[in-house]
Symmetry: C2
Subunit: 337 residues, 2 copies
Amino acid sequence: MIRIGVDANGGDFGVEATVPGAMRAISIYDDIEIVLYGDENKIKPLLTNSERITVVHTDKTMNMGEKDPIKAVRGGKDTSLCMAMYAAKNGEVDAVVTSGPTQCVVMAAHLIIRRLKQMERVALCPLIPNLDGNPRLMLDVGANVELKPEHLGQFAIFATVAAKEVFGIKEPKVGLLNIGSEPGKGRPIDKETYYYLEDLEGIKFYGNIEGDDIVNCPTDIILTDGYGGNICMKSLEGTAKGMAKMLKEEIKSSLGGKIGYLFMKKNLKRFAKRMDSSEVGGAMIFGIGKPVVKAHGNSKGYAFSNAIKQVRTMVLSNLIEKVVEALPEQKKDDNNE
Amino acid sequence: MIRIGVDANGGDFGVEATVPGAMRAISIYDDIEIVLYGDENKIKPLLTNSERITVVHTDKTMNMGEKDPIKAVRGGKDTSLCMAMYAAKNGEVDAVVTSGPTQCVVMAAHLIIRRLKQMERVALCPLIPNLDGNPRLMLDVGANVELKPEHLGQFAIFATVAAKEVFGIKEPKVGLLNIGSEPGKGRPIDKETYYYLEDLEGIKFYGNIEGDDIVNCPTDIILTDGYGGNICMKSLEGTAKGMAKMLKEEIKSSLGGKIGYLFMKKNLKRFAKRMDSSEVGGAMIFGIGKPVVKAHGNSKGYAFSNAIKQVRTMVLSNLIEKVVEALPEQKKDDNNE
């Protein structure tokens, strides 16, 4: 039985999204048990069955607008987010799913579950929608703004194993996000990383990819640092939202548009679905000792259940053990900074 | 009379786009004269009048796939691009418009026209479509991957004067592209630049903006280095193209979609127009002694005439003189590296 810890109070909608998501996942997968960390008074009325589900009470929640993640995690041991992380650290659950505030989730995973000693940095790896319908793994979009080629190499190995084990991609290709397609392009770190990845064992390096490849991407994995990853992913999200808004405005602006909408309603819904990241699952935290998936803050029940499905696959495939085998041993144990 | 030099052989379509664009501009503005640098055998049949238009013959063209811009510019004095730049340097024309290969255009402007001594770097400043219909100035999206806060400050002043003089914005706001909204976010250079801009005279600094603000932007100017600018702009372009493709696929996938399309054809065309960068003009090269506008490589006549319109306004408003007044004097003359 796979035991999944859920931060039930987290996210924009709290228990209103996480509990229906958990109930949905339980009904689909008979090999999972879920522990809901959250406000039992609010959770109980939402439970549709009591099988394979446990509630551990806390009415404390990590604030979605939290600006100081380290302080918030250190002072927030009794929040539903941190309680789920402690349970994973102590082996009470095998994995954690949360839609809490991103930087707090990364920090809590890092400070509570702890980094694998083979990984020198922790990465946030969301799934990026792609034209061909198969999402791409992009990392790091977290807070690592200064990475060395070795760190990016560790991320590449981690993501390669995850792409194989969790997403069933036979020979995942790794692309380096850069500002030109040829080797020798970009910042000094990009040039160094290019040559480092060319020689790195355990990955299939494709070469540089550019921002305009992002939703029509020739690689399965998009490797970048927290600066490039954040700018790229947010530009993608902002453009997609902006275009959807413009399209709605133009459709509503005339009678022809409104009539046309009635005919192509289904087509436009399918279009929206293809661009919707909640369809593909949540962002994975790579580099720590347990699988953790961070669902979108605005996830509703369906999206949250997809994140549970994803973390289930991460546990089932023994992802962490396989990554540890694939990663080269670090020279010194610097796990406890 | 404003004399505009046009790289007639340049771009994906060469004279087929540049000559109709020039003819269109001539017919609208009676205060411009155009010198077409290009293949006169191909140009002559396309001229619809001979008033205020001169052809200077060259059948040499800068290759759109050129990988070594410095070598290409140094060895390409007789290309239409370089000939237009030399004419600007020698005062034969007041400004240059080209749809040639971006890095070669930046390099030719830099090496031939030369940098202003008040500017330590040359920036490429495209216009980014925005939800409110008013484009935003983004710089630098060129090759400057390592900038100091002072360089970004000079770009901010240049763009502020351009936003006022060329686009009629009374008090342009400058935003710093970053990976968080609060001060203290980002790479060391982003943090330093934030505090530098706060104290910089001659600009109105708004603070950090993020990638998801990009098409719904609270500032008139988006300041970044060549790495962030390239990633952001290409992600925007790639997402916009990808979404347009998905939308077309979904519409074509059913009869309802096709019928709906007939009703909302005009609406969808207006939508496409709002996202089309050729509507707003070309990218400006900032930091050199003459106005230069780089139109999209795939510009057709209409887009190219918009780029001519834009460079005309740059000359008419005495942009370069006003920028020189606004910029602090540099300590040493390092114009001739």
